[in-house]
Amino acid sequence: MSDDELIWRIAGGSGDGIDSTSQNFAKALMRSGLDVFTHRHYPSRIRGGHTYVEIRAAGHEVQSRGDGYNFLLSLGDSFARNPQEEAYYGNEEIKPLSENLDDLREGGIIVYDEGLISEEDVADLDLEERAEENDWHVFPMDLRGLAKEHGREVMRNTAGVGVTAALLDMELEHIEDLMSDAMSGDVLESNLEILHESYETTKEEYDFEHDLRAPEGSHETEQALLSGSNAIAYGAIDGGCRFISGYPMTPWTDVFTILTQNFPDIGGVSEQVEDEIAAAALAVGASHAGVKAMSGSSGGGFALMSEPLGLAEMTETPLVLVESMRAGPSTGMPTKPEQGDLEFVLYTSQGDSSRVVFAPGNIEEAYEQTRLAFDIAWEYQIPTIIIYDQKLSGENTNVDVEFFDREPEPGLGSTLTEEELKEAAHDNSGKFKRFNYEDAENGVAPRSLPGQKGGRYLATGNEHSPVGHISEDPDNRVFQMDRRIGKLDAIREELDEERPSNQTYFGDETAEYGIITWGSSQGAVQEAVQRLNESGHSVKGLSVSDMMPFAEAEVTDFLESVDEAMVVEMNATAQFRGLIQKELGRFGDKMTSLLKYNGNPFEPAEVVEGYEVNLADEDRQPTAQVRIEPAAGD
């Protein structure tokens, strides 16, 4: 927990513009030279209800939301814009203040809107007493009044940003620039007035006794702020994707929307359809006809996609699906992250079905692995799934723009041109052997597209002969199965030998204790490993992305090199640890699990605590809402 960082939390009612305000403030912090990381916490309702966004900013790299926070901007009244007779549970006016006090660090700052939060309510909170105990610095400001005076009440978040900037000794320049980019005319004028007035008033009204100031930093290269959903959408575009079909479901909707909005400008097609079966089936149809296509959903919607997924596999139609996990089972917790769909995504669909599954661990990996997913899917004619979750989907962080400095890869992989089709294998009758197994390299039989000369064939979800006719011939069945299944070995080999590893390592290479994780828990683990090493422990970490074909060699090496390992994941049944044991057939006695499934992602401190508890005493559970699942004997 370093002191040179700001973790700013803006809390209020959903629908109050908290998202856009925080997005802009995060950009302003990034533009001032800091590294940023955002975390969204929101309920499953559209307007009203308590919500917050956290922005962590520092002059050094930040990989997670951090532990707790040190600046609270509490707007007040989660239902202010949407008065309801019977407000939900508890007192909504005070919630943006009351709900957030537990995680505020010692020495932290509180700004609250006294225009909306009443004195009596504050008195009930024992705020003064708690502030004294924790050395909090409390600044009541009439944000609502200020906003009303110069514009409209909703602009009170702008007033809050002005107060924040004043208290942190920040320049307003970047904030003003961003406002001018986003709005114009009277709205801009009013917002600027509110910003300045709140800034000046704060400076005049208060002496700043607190130590917290905006951290300092600078970037040597250009940076861009983007979310995991952005990264997946952009990775898809650069991977050549020009068709997306979907049906809305949180949090997958973000990727769907971003691509839909960009496609008209870059010549792509987006379709919102009647359900998820149709969504995935459309992607199959578009891919069959020659366009790089993608679809996706979240758990419940993905369940409906298992049919078209199997169809794509059997007909060897390239396809990329994304699965953005949220807490389940069933509709579960729509707006809370969990890593509970791993087994579902790996094994859904009937038969000995196989697909490629990547689980990116951060925003850069999300971009990179989505590109790779398109490449592999079209080269090997196999469905490829990107599995991620609500956390990675919604968090924003800055990425060095140079990272994106590479050419797009629109190519259709093992698809033939008409010229190549002439040379390709045909049977005696002259029919194109679309599903040729005789000399298929890596299991891949090159394909043709409808409309091409000389490439006619039947694609069918039934078992089929080399020209595509339905066939129950036992020899053909075995040849075709072996060829299709064989692709996974070939892909594993390519990933190991010709591609940079998708797995991420951190910590001290020689350490005897290992922490393994996957997907979006990566950042918290990475930071925990760093802290443990800084405080004298010797720990190393591995975050795995290749779920199928499994990163067998790398995980084996890692596990062999340590005496003990802790597997960290956000679910209750240790699905990833189960996968490791299934794939490697051993290490059951070396692995402990650290599990969290309360709807909130891991904080680094929880991972540190899990490590300590595990090392100290196997019977004790950590104090946070996480669970230790001890090792099982082989």
């Binding site: 575009i237 068709f243 149809g285 578009a286 020659g290 366009v291 629109p410 006719h469």
Partner: protein, 311 residues
């Protein structure tokens, strides 16, 4: 140069080109109505000047779904009920393909009912042929959405309590712009209607009555057929929604009483197809997206350009 040279090729097309030169022989039962659909397609396609390679037939699962196993075009035999979403997307990806979707009444009106309604609503430019034998064929004779009330089968042993679905009226209400019914026992009309449906610019739904001698011996497909357009008793304007609706309703009533009326019921040449609608709002490029991947001069805009960049 196009990557799809078989599309729009101008030449004399022989109907035998649509017959696979090697196995498989159809596995349909002798006397099955599905042969009629196969035959009328083989006749209609050369007539409308389509080469086998520019046609993509997309089918569902059922005896009917085997259609493209015996028809030598590009084909996609998909899964039960899902032919339409696959077909729609193929057309959007490459609008120059001639896309024909086909399947059974269980496949299309039952499990795929949702897709059917929405494909009609959006008026996708595809032809949809439903082999309506009022029964599940491939799974051995269970009651289907078009089986008449009281129909007895192994899954409705006491006679079905359900009123049959009205496919023509449903399609009209959903928004299809060409709706016809024909029958396997009426080959001349069938060929003409299929040809018209293929040439129609928009969603063309053909409810194709096929007999299933194996499981549905009682079906009314054996009674004489009356062509609604040719009969003086049924005078109506096929371009008028209300008149068409009325005729369909009447037809669907009498079907269950033993009179089979076939012919065109609704033809709307004015309603723009989904391709046109989507282009008009800027959601579909003018050139087929599928062509781009073969165009060496194609510009592939980077997502990099979408980023907000700052030091």
């Amino acid at each position: 140069m196009s990557a799809f040279n078989a599309i729009g090729e101008e030449r004399e097309i022989d109907r035998d080109e649509f017959t696979p030169s090697v196995e498989p022989q159809p596995t349909w039962c002798p006397g099955c109505g599905d042969f009629g659909v196969l035959k009328s397609l083989k006749q209609a396609l050369p007539e409308v000047g389509k080469t086998p390679e520019e046609v993509l037939t997309v089918t569902g699962i059922g005896c009917s779904g085997k259609l493209n196993s015996y028809l030598d075009t590009y084909g996609f035999h998909t899964i039960h009920g899902r032919s339409l979403p696959v077909a729609r997307a193929a057309k959007l990806a490459n609008p120059e393909l001639e896309v024909i979707a086909a399947g059974g009444d269980g496949d299309g009106y039952g499990i795929g009912g949702n897709h059917w309604i929405h494909t009609a609503r959006e008026n996708h430019d595809i032809t949809y042929i439903v082999f309506n034998n009022e029964i599940f064929g491939l799974t051995k004779g269970q009651t289907s959405p078009t089986s008449p009330k009281g129909h007895k089968s192994k899954t409705q042993p006491s006679g079905s309590a359900k009123t049959p679905l009205r496919p023509l009226s449903m399609s009209l209400n959903a928004g299809a712009s060409y709706i016809a019914r024909t029958a396997a026992v009426n080959p001349n009309q069938a060929k003409e209607i299929i040809a018209e449906a293929i040439e129609h610019d928009g969603f063309a739904h053909v409810d194709f009555l096929t007999q299933c001698p194996t499981w549905n011996k009682d079906a009314r497909q054996y009674v004489p057929y009356i062509d609604v357009q040719e009969s003086d008793d049924y005078d109506f304007d096929v371009t008028d929604r209300r008149e068409a609706a009325e005729m369909m309703y009447e037809t669907e009533d009498v079907l269950n009483e033993g009179t089979v009326l076939t012919g065109r019921y609704y033809v709307d040449e004015d309603r723009p197809s989904y391709l046109e609608e989507k282009r008009a709002v800027g959601e579909l490029p003018d050139e087929p997206v599928a062509e781009r991947y073969f165009d060496e001069d194609a510009e592939w805009e980077r997502s990099y350009d979408l980023l907000d960049r700052h030091t």
